[in-house]
């Protein structure tokens, strides 16, 4: 743990932003989104429109709030002290994301190691079972689940692994270029990362289509289907967010933002990208492969 105190320059003032309406508007948007969603899944009220309204409000705030932060950053309001706050903040935000995925990996390991084998052993251990025929092998959709074909690892998933790993390399290339002030290579590196991420998402969409239409593999396909779609689905959602963030960073680079010394937003997005990369590796091993 660092024993050196917060800031090194005596008399330096920390940047405290002016009052802002964005946070409370964002909360209102999230309320509309949540309330509309509840209406949609329970079939009452004008849920779809409430959700749409909430989404519009959230988008408005995202543009406004991030726009505000970018203009503050460009005006030179943030120096080393503020920069460090953002870095710590992003690190611990990613830590919460890690724990969110840990919940779903925990569920996967639990069904594979505990609940499915236990269900399969009921006859042997208890002499009675609701489902005496159930073998308890993985992959399974459970004793009463529909028949399905599990997703193989060495087709599209392996290709996707290669894509994401390469994108980790290209974003690092972009970072090195930024540090050496080679703006052209910086833009190319980011563009390549965006393209790789988008191709990954395209393959993922194709894979889902294939799963639903040809393999009988759906969210309803028992423990396998549930963990498969929730893990890959939330991962895909994060890749989508990461790709959008990379596009924003690319556009900012093209407008001349970021310098070799000051580029927190770039690094934050790069960290996020590496995070989704690592989640994919674990996912590839435990969801697709073994």
């Amino acid at each position: 743990m660092s024993s050196s105190p917060g800031h090194a320059v005596p008399g330096e003032h920390y940047f405290v932003p002016q009052p802002s309406l964005y946070p409370v508007i964002l909360s209102a948007g999230m309320f509309l989104l949540a309330f509309g969603f509840i209406q949609v899944i329970n079939n009452f009220g004008p849920g779809k429109w409430v959700m749409l309204g909430g989404t519009a409000v959230i988008l408005y705030v995202l543009f406004g709030w991030f726009g505000r932060v970018i203009s503050e950053s460009q005006s030179g309001a943030y120096r080393d002290w503020e920069d460090r706050s953002f870095r710590y903040g992003m690190i611990w935000f990613i830590a919460t994301e890690v724990m969110f995925f840990a919940a779903f990996f925990g569920a996967l390991f639990y069904v594979r190691v505990i609940s499915v084998p236990t269900l399969g052993d009921m006859m042997a251990t208890h002499g009675t079972s609701l489902w005496p025929e159930f073998a308890g092998t993985w992959p399974t959709s459970g004793p009463k689940g529909p028949a399905f074909t599990p997703m193989g690892a060495w087709g599209i998933p392996a290709l996707n692994t290669a894509l994401l790993l390469s994108s980790g390399a290209t974003v690092t290339w972009a970072h090195w270029s930024l540090l050496r002030n080679r703006r052209r290579q910086l833009a190319l590196g980011l563009l390549a990362t965006v393209v790789l991420g988008s191709v990954f998402l395209g393959f993922q969409a194709y894979e889902y289509h294939h799963a639903y239409n040809e393999l009988g593999l759906t969210m309803g396909a028992g423990a396998y289907g549930a963990t498969f779609f929730m893990l890959t689905g939330f991962h895909g959602f994060h890749v989508t967010l990461g790709t959008i963030m990379l596009i924003v960073i690319l556009l900012r680079c093209l407008s001349g933002h970021f310098s070799a010394e000051r580029h927190f937003a770039f690094e934050a997005v790069a960290w996020y990208w590496h995070f989704v990369d690592v989640v994919w590796l674990v996912l590839f091993v435990f969801v697709y492969w073994v």
Partner: protein, 531 residues
């Protein structure tokens, strides 16, 4: 949107925003802290009213006032409101107000995020309580009726009140995570020059560990209720054995969050105690390092003991033994804390102002929570006590006597600093004695009810439990009414009263007492240097 030009290298004085706009838009840690405290106080009464309705129903055997379905809704929403909307915001309010003052920081590290963290709470509270209202209009069947634990399969089959609670928990979780990130960053990055981690005030240390626990466990709760949502509406089988899932999986995920949550509620209070005890004993805190290491040890242990909440659900024996002994191991660092609190008072020149009374009351009553917790941690004994009123009494000693009385300690201790006025000492003492008396009157009978076998979460009971229930209900109503004194005392202190000095308490130590009471809107813009 009122946004003035930014001033690199410093910040301009904020244009004063009057009325509602000030509170909606503020980025000031003191304003946000005040909003957290006020929200917490309001929700404390909302949750209290719910449980008074429950206690009124339980005054006599038989069904008097409400249908069992409504009773079930009240107990679940009471718990969620008290935990997520009363206790946690109170602790976050303390952190917002006091950590920047204590560590010599100009504000929280991420002020706009701070505002967002607060303003997520009202929408979430609306989501939690809205189903009651909708049910009046014939939409849905009321709020979550599963108890606050959402156990599957009941929650998978429950009405749309469950969906409201799931979404509310998501938003409350985002709020707490934003608050935690902000507190961690503030403590790591905003300390005054010379304030090393081992000079950090214990209150900040307690909150630092709390924030790490929130970051480690709240996302898991979010994941668990997300699985619940997809099991309810999108056809997954996480908690359905017919699909290879398991209802017990939900309990594992829930309590992986739920047990650390107990320490999330208590660590800020444990951090506050040594400050109060030292001030009114006129001695330095005993065992600073021991307390820091105990916080860390408790934080680490709290995430590996969760399954003691469902010993009776069925687990392999080695797992039972592991969870039993790891749970009991928490009593070691906790005993260190108790020892330090008592040793701080030892041979001190003690005086007994209201915060000190609450602190001592906290130590005694929270001690009872700890000792009854040891009984529940014993697998064999727990088979008898599980899901009985003994458990209810135990965790109210932990969360009311430990959590809420701890918060009251802090409120009385810091209210003069926040408002610039002394609270009314007479009313404060009256509030303390009424609270301690009626709290014990409410919950001691519940220990006996539990030992005699009365199950919790039941609106009706056998005749043999009638006397203790009647006593408990009388206690609960006195307890509830006594809190009006608390609210009144806060009200008159905010409005006026004897002027408080900067160093409100003569022997209080720490940077927060170097400032005037109330402190200027922006404090420590130039950081103090700690020698």
């Amino acid at each position: 949107m009122s946004i003035a030009t930014t001033h690199p290298g410093g910040h301009a004085a904020e244009p004063y925003q009057g009325g509602l706009r000030r509170w909606l838009t503020t980025t000031n840690h003191k304003d946000i802290g005040t909003m957290y405290m006020m929200f917490s106080l309001i929700m404390f009464f909302v949750g209290g009213l719910m449980i008074l309705a429950v206690r009124a129903e339980l005054f006599q055997p038989g069904l008097q006032l409400m249908k069992p379905e409504f009773f079930n809704q009240l107990i679940g929403i009471h718990a969620l409101v008290m935990i997520f909307a009363a206790l946690m915001p109170a602790a976050t309010g303390f952190a917002n107000w006091m950590i920047p003052l204590m560590i010599g920081a100009p504000d929280m590290a991420l002020p706009r995020l701070n505002n967002w963290g607060f303003w997520l709470l009202p929408p979430a509270a609306i989501l939690l309580t809205l189903p009651f209202t909708l049910a009046l209009f014939g939409i849905g069947d009321g709020a979550l009726a599963t108890g606050w634990t959402f156990y599957a399969p009941l929650s998978v089959q429950g009405g749309m009140g469950v969906d409201f609670a799931i979404l509310a928990v998501h938003i409350l979780g985002i709020s707490s995570i934003m608050g935690s990130i902000n507190i961690i960053v503030t403590i790591f990055n905003m300390r005054a020059p010379g304030m090393t981690m081992m000079k950090l005030p214990l209150f900040a240390w307690g909150w630092l560990i709390t924030a790490f626990l929130l970051i480690a466990t709240l996302p898991v709760l979010a994941g668990a209720v997300t699985m619940l949502l997809t099991d309810r509406h999108f056809g997954t089988h996480f908690f359905d054995a017919a699909g290879g899932g398991d209802p017990i999986l939900f309990q594992h995920l829930f309590w992986f969050f739920g047990h650390p949550e107990v320490y999330i509620l208590l660590l800020p209070v444990w951090g506050l105690m040594p400050h109060v005890l030292a001030t009114f004993s006129r001695k330095p805190t005993y065992g600073y390092k021991a307390q820091v290491y105990s916080f860390i040890a408790i934080g680490l242990l709290s995430v590996v003991v969760w399954a003691h909440h469902f010993f009776t659900a069925g687990m392999p024996v080695p797992a039972l033994i592991y969870f039993m002994f790891s749970t009991m191991a928490i009593s070691l660092p906790l005993a260190v804390l108790f020892f330090c609190w008592i040793a701080t008072m030892w041979k001190g020149a003690m005086s007994f102002e209201t915060p000190m009374l609450f602190a001592i009351g906290f130590i005694v009553l929270f001690g009872i929570a700890g000792l009854t917790g040891l009984i529940l941690a014993d697998v064999a004994a727990d088979a008898q006590y599980h899901h009985s009123y003994f458990v209810v009494a135990h965790f109210h000693y932990a969360l009311f006597a430990g959590g809420i009385m701890g918060v009251m300690t802090g409120v009385y201790y810091w209210l003069p600093k926040w408002t610039g006025h002394m609270y009314c000492e007479k009313l404060g003492k009256l509030h303390f004695w009424l609270t301690v008396f009626s709290f014990n009157l409410t919950f001691i009978p519940q220990f006996f009810l539990g030992l005699a076998g009365m199950p919790r979460r039941i609106p009706d009971y056998a005749l043999q439990f009638a006397e203790f229930n009647a006593i408990s209900t009388v206690g609960a109503f006195i307890l509830g009414l006594s809190q009006l004194i608390f609210a009144w005392n806060i009200w008159i202190t905010v409005r006026g009263g004897k002027k408080a000095e900067g160093r409100v308490w003569e022997s209080a130590e720490g940077l927060e007492w170097e400032l005037s009471s109330p402190p200027p809107h922006h404090s420590w813009e130039t950081q103090p240097v700690i020698k």
